[in-house]
Amino acid sequence: MTRKFPKITVWRAIFAVILLFGLYATYLRVVYGLGGSTNLSDQFPWGLWIAFDVMCGVGLAAGGFTLVAMVHIFNIERYRPILRPAILTAFLGYLLVVVGLLYDLGHPERLWHPLVMWNPHSVMFEVAWCVTLYTTVLFLEFIPVVFERFGLHKPLEWIHKISVPLMILGVLLSTLHQSSLGSLFLIVPEKLYPLWYSPILPLLFYISSIAVGLAMTIFESWHSSRAFGRALELPLLMSMARVLAVVLSLYLWIRFLDLSHRHALGLLTQNRIETWLFALEMALMIVPVVLLFQARIRSKPGSLYACAVMVVFGFIANRLNVGTTGLEAGSGTHYMPRWSEVAVTLSIVAAGFAIFRGIAQYFPIFEKHSHEHAPAEVEEKEADSVGVA
């Protein structure tokens, strides 16, 4: 495998700096508690670690269930080459969400409590169960890659036998989990700004997660093709971009209908910070939709990538608005994350990139041609990937 690393060293330096700050922030979190490491307050109890690390982390992992549904349930075979990277992204995403939660919870050592102390009336209870179960499912969806790498045929057969119910379970859990992150905020009708508060928040969260899952798949295909010097699956990504454009249009249309039925559109004439943040969020979704409907944009890797990035940022803007900025006025306070909150978040993202890269290098994640170094027997197995026997 040819490695061209001149610009990677710059990235590595940045990576090291981020991790260094992250480590110091971790020290502050452990020794001085949430008060010593965050700008959270009684008026503003949730900040960046919930709004980004958890809400965006789960959303950005949505490519996993979207592609599993496409390939294994709808049986659209041609998407198979990008299934494994999507599952890996989802698995890592969920693990990192758990890491984020460990930072954010006042008592991280009690992470397991919701599993034994039940309250089915709590959305957070549903969230906790979904995180636990779906992380387990993702582990099982990912593990065949490890079995293949080490040529363990017996366990591979076992996992094949349960693969169909496993895939269906994964899609169901994701559906519940993606939507329940929106349901979390149904309880604050008087706090969350009306541009974001809606009784259909769970539906909006669900549809936008599918869109961002597709965008993330394009994003990581583009990056891995550069990092590993392999060909980009352009025709595949182009057709996926069509799906993305349609799903996102649907989302935007439902969003518009919701705002208009709630008579909230009038708020857009007010010169408030919320209006501008909403406009930013919308722009980051409308622009890529308009662009992706044009064949000449879809067919250029660069512009396709740019559109995917815009969708990802639009999604992040939405989750941050629901999770932080949209709540400021209603909470009667301002919140700006402390440097240590940002450092931990960046560290988690950076770790995600690094671990993905490491795993993709040593395990059969991408299609054959990218793995000249992999043992021959593993390569043969690859076509017959995770799921259906």
Binding site: Y32, G33, G106, H107, L111, H121, V123, M124, S183
Partner: protein, 248 residues
């Protein structure tokens, strides 16, 4: 019989005796500096606020259908038949959803602690269980805070409103707010002028999430049939294609 507190802002003289009694009951420090803080926090579970010529009190409303109880993923919060909403710190994992969800922004957190707890007034659950008054009601020298059965306190409040209509803003805060609370307020001026939230819904908030949560079994069962069915159809097609390929 459900217990409650009636706070009459028109009688309050702002002496803060309730604050001191509350601190003592919880074993929290209380001094001049803390007395000057006009907001509730993890070390001050009730606070007397000054709003111009009027005083007001902040404390947990101990709602009839508490939002915090419904949102707690581990059931660390509970509404007792007696009225108080109580908290079990040993269950709490510190997700702070109760704080985010509380329509009155009551729960406070021990932010600087390494093993933090949520703190809030529990309407002196132990004292009331033993038939005693809440510490704040017992300490109040002018009867601005009184403690008793909710039904009787509502009647008492109505009586005061009827007897002296010119001295009161003619409503009882807490009667219907978020479905009713165990702390009731009377005031000379509209409630927002003494710092009470008047934009809270009149329906209990747990409804907003339960409407969605109760759909979970339906989503799971319908989804299983739907996804299983789609799988069966699409892969049948693939199977047929494979077989026909072999035959050829």
């Amino acid at each position: 019989m459900s217990k409650a507190i009636l706070y009459d802002s028109t009688l309050c003289i702002g002496c803060k005796a309730c604050e001191g009694a509350c601190a003592e009951r919880w074993g929290l420090p209380y001094n001049e500096k803390i007395a000057a803080e006009e907001r509730i926090s993890a070390h001050k579970l009730t606070a007397v606020e000054t709003h111009g010529d009027h005083f007001s009190r902040r404390l947990c409303m101990n709602c009839a259908q508490p939002t915090c109880v419904s949102v707690c993923p581990v059931g660390a919060l509970a509404k007792t038949p007696l009225g108080p909403v109580i908290y079990d710190a040993d269950k709490c994992m510190g997700c702070r959803y109760c704080m985010q969800a509380c329509p009155f922004q009551v729960p406070s957190y021990e932010w600087s602690s390494r093993f933090p707890k949520m703190r809030k007034c529990n309407m002196c659950y132990e004292r009331q269980s033993a038939g005693k008054l809440t510490a704040c009601a017992e300490a109040c020298p002018v009867g601005a805070t009184i403690n008793g059965d909710r039904d009787q306190l509502v009647q008492e409040a109505r009586k005061r409103l009827a007897e002296k209509p010119d001295q009161y803003y003619g409503k009882i805060y807490g009667l219907t707010e978020v479905g009713g609370t165990s702390v009731l307020f009377l005031s000379a001026v509209p409630f927002e002028q003494i710092g009470l939230r008047t934009n809270v819904p009149q329906e209990p908030l747990p409804e907003t999430t339960w409407r969605v949560l109760e759909l979970v079994p339906d989503v799971v069962s319908t989804g299983t049939v739907l996804l299983g069915g789609i799988y069966w159809i699409t892969n049948r097609r693939a199977e047929v294609a494979r077989k026909e390929g072999k035959r050829r």
